[in-house]
């Protein structure tokens, strides 16, 4: 894992030494033709399901017969999109609130923890950090049954009736996001925060909190971008917690999408448009902020 972070960091700096050839002109002519042919073949394969989604979403539901499934729509309609929007708008709003709050909370905790694990260590910090990381890998099935019971217990306390649906998901995603956010921030601070500055702050008599707010926090923006994107995407895309902890009236968009597409609903344009509507926020994040998304992937999987 250590290697990958090093390389991922290095990726940001163009280290390619030119060999006197322009990009894309290495190797023989045949080699290049084969290379590009393969690249485009795989491109088509990767995009094929997206093609199906997009063309079907603009068809009339009567025209989605088997024989025409792969062809372009004969006439465009946005009926499917309207129907999908109508059934998914409320859960979309809930997902948005849930994913944004969970992303902010885990990022804040991750930043505090990351700072301590990188630069303000205490005895046993390595062990605790490893115990945190294990929490990132566990199959959530292994905690789901008691988790469900515990959250219902909380909900049934007097005055806690509101604690349901996305509120449960906010708690769960915030907590299970702590390990990855801590990891990302720890790795970030380990490279971005020179020891000399911290020593100087110490000499000036700044305590830990003072050091955090005046030195660490101001340089933390890149870390926050990565953890926010990562946490937003994983909370948005989660289905397992949604299925166990929410229902069709208070669940997020993944739950609603599964309801919409499950069963024998024959309205394929609505279903396919629904998939696109439910994926649009994460796709937008990915397209606009893809560079950081990849940064999160790197540090997310590997230290």
């Amino acid at each position: 894992m250590a290697t990958s972070t090093a390389t991922a960091t290095r990726e940001a700096i163009p280290v390619r030494v030119t060999t006197g050839q322009a990009p894309g002109t290495e190797g023989t002519m045949t080699g290049r033709v084969i290379r590009y042919a393969l690249i485009i073949l795989f491109l088509v394969m990767v995009l094929m399901p997206l093609y199906v989604l997009i063309v079907t979403s603009f068809k009339h539901s009567a025209n989605v017969t088997a024989s025409e499934a792969w062809s372009l729509p004969r006439s465009l309609t946005i009926d499917g999109w309207q129907a999908a929007w109508k059934s998914l708008a409320p859960p979309l709003g809930r997902s948005l609130i849930m994913a944004v709050i969970a992303a902010i909370l885990s990022s804040i905790l991750g930043s505090l923890n990351g700072f301590v694990f990188a630069r303000w260590r205490f005895p046993g910090a390595t062990t605790i950090f490893t115990l945190f990381l294990f929490g990132m890998f566990i199959p959530y099935q292994a905690i789901m049954i008691p988790l469900q019971g515990m959250l219902i217990d909380v909900q049934s306390q007097p005055g806690m009736g509101w604690f349901d649906g996305i509120w449960k998901l906010i708690v769960v995603h915030t907590i299970f996001g702590i390990p990855i956010c801590t990891l990302i921030f720890r790795n970030y601070y380990a490279t971005a925060l020179p020891n000399e500055i911290l020593e100087a702050a110490k000499v000036d008599g700044a305590g830990m909190l003072r050091t955090y707010t005046s030195i660490v926090l101001p340089i933390s923006a890149p870390g926050f971008v990565v953890t926010m994107i990562w946490q937003f995407t994983s909370a948005w895309n989660d289905f397992l917690f949604a299925l166990f902890l929410t229902n069709r009236n208070n669940g997020p968009v993944t739950y609603a999408l599964n309801e919409l597409a499950g069963g024998q609903n024959p309205n394929y344009p609505q279903i396919m448009a629904g998939v696109l509507v439910a994926s649009l926020p994460t796709l937008l994040v990915y397209i606009l902020l893809g560079r950081y998304f990849i940064g999160g992937l790197m540090s997310g999987s590997v230290k």
Partner: protein, 301 residues
């Protein structure tokens, strides 16, 4: 410089809220789940013993045909999923790593499926993997027919073979090959151009260059990718649930069987046993890796 305890305490206090949350939500809940898995239960009406209690619950589940079927499915899924993502991930990285024009664009497209949830991807793949052949062919089977490859039409995950779960790995490979590619690409970037030059000067062919100079340096990344993908496969639930529907026997793996045990069979004890075994399986893969990394980290400090 030696730090005094006075300096160290604030660090611990700052992490303390997270320590408490992780202790409760990860470790206490794991403990609760294990405790549930050891319960003795009897059916309410007939007083028949449903779970004998203690470790016998584990031997009961391990001996159960339905569970063994799910374990076998998981094995097939994992082997194909891991092999597929490693193959495409490495191939795509090799194709793109040497300054291809538009590399950034291709890389982004290959990674695109990762931004979509398993549940959303599952909806379209359920249709693509429809089992109808011949006149009834839709999805991939129809595409095969359009390309004149009718003889490859099949029932995909609903095929009447015991290895049908291999088809369920197709959408998973589609979603995660780009991720493995990104890992390998970062690995290639980390190898200095000098080494390639040196190998070329020594007269190494392109194949020899990759085989003896570049690939060996990627093995730590390959190990990471293997463990990440392997453990994702063991946890895979959403995609199977979306494609096969709930309570599918044909496509059941331990993670989906746990749902069936809990809600369709109303047997939380057996579900807890299943979940505990799943945790152990994941831990066997992940824990040595975590210990190895934390050791190698210490070495570099």
């Amino acid at each position: 410089m030696r730090k005094r305890a006075k300096d160290r305490l604030p660090g611990f206090l700052l992490v303390l809220p997270s320590i408490i949350l992780i202790a409760i939500f990860v470790y206490w809940l794991i403990y609760r789940n294990v405790a549930t898995s050891l319960d003795q239960t009897v059916t309410r009406a007939t007083k028949r013993v449903l779970n004998p209690g203690g470790l016998a619950n584990y031997s009961k589940l391990l001996g159960d045909g339905e569970y063994q079927h799910a374990l076998f499915n998981l094995l097939v899924l994992t082997v194909v999923f891991v092999a597929g993502t490693m193959f495409f991930g490495l191939l795509w990285a090799v194709l793109l790593e040497k300054g291809v024009k538009g590399e950034g664009f291709f890389r982004s497209v290959y990674l695109l499926p990762m931004a979509i949830s398993f549940i959303a991807a599952g909806v379209v793949w359920r249709w693509l993997l429809s089992p109808g052949v011949g006149e009834q062919a839709v999805g991939l089977n129809q595409l095969l027919a359009m390309m004149g490859l009718e003889r490859f039409q099949n029932g995909w995950w609903q095929s009447p073979t015991q290895f049908s779960m291999a088809a369920m790995a197709i959408p998973a490979i589609w979603q995660l090959s780009g991720y493995v590619m990104a890992l390998f690409l970062a690995g290639f970037r980390g190898i200095s151009e000098d080494q390639r030059e040196a190998a070329r000067i020594d007269g190494a062919s392109e194949w020899q260059l990759y085989r003896h100079v570049l690939f060996p340096q990627l093995s730590p990344i390959a190990l990471s990718a293997l463990i990440i993908i392997g453990h994702m496969s063991m946890k895979m639930f959403d995609l199977i649930y979306a494609i096969a529907g709930q309570n599918s026997y044909k496509a059941s793996v331990p993670a989906t069987l746990m749902w069936t045990q809990l809600f369709a069979q109303n047997n939380p004890t057996a579900a807890a046993v299943n979940a505990t075994i799943l945790l152990v399986l994941v831990a066997i893969v992940v824990v040595p890796y975590l210990i190895y990394t934390s050791k190698s980290e210490k070495g570099t400090h």
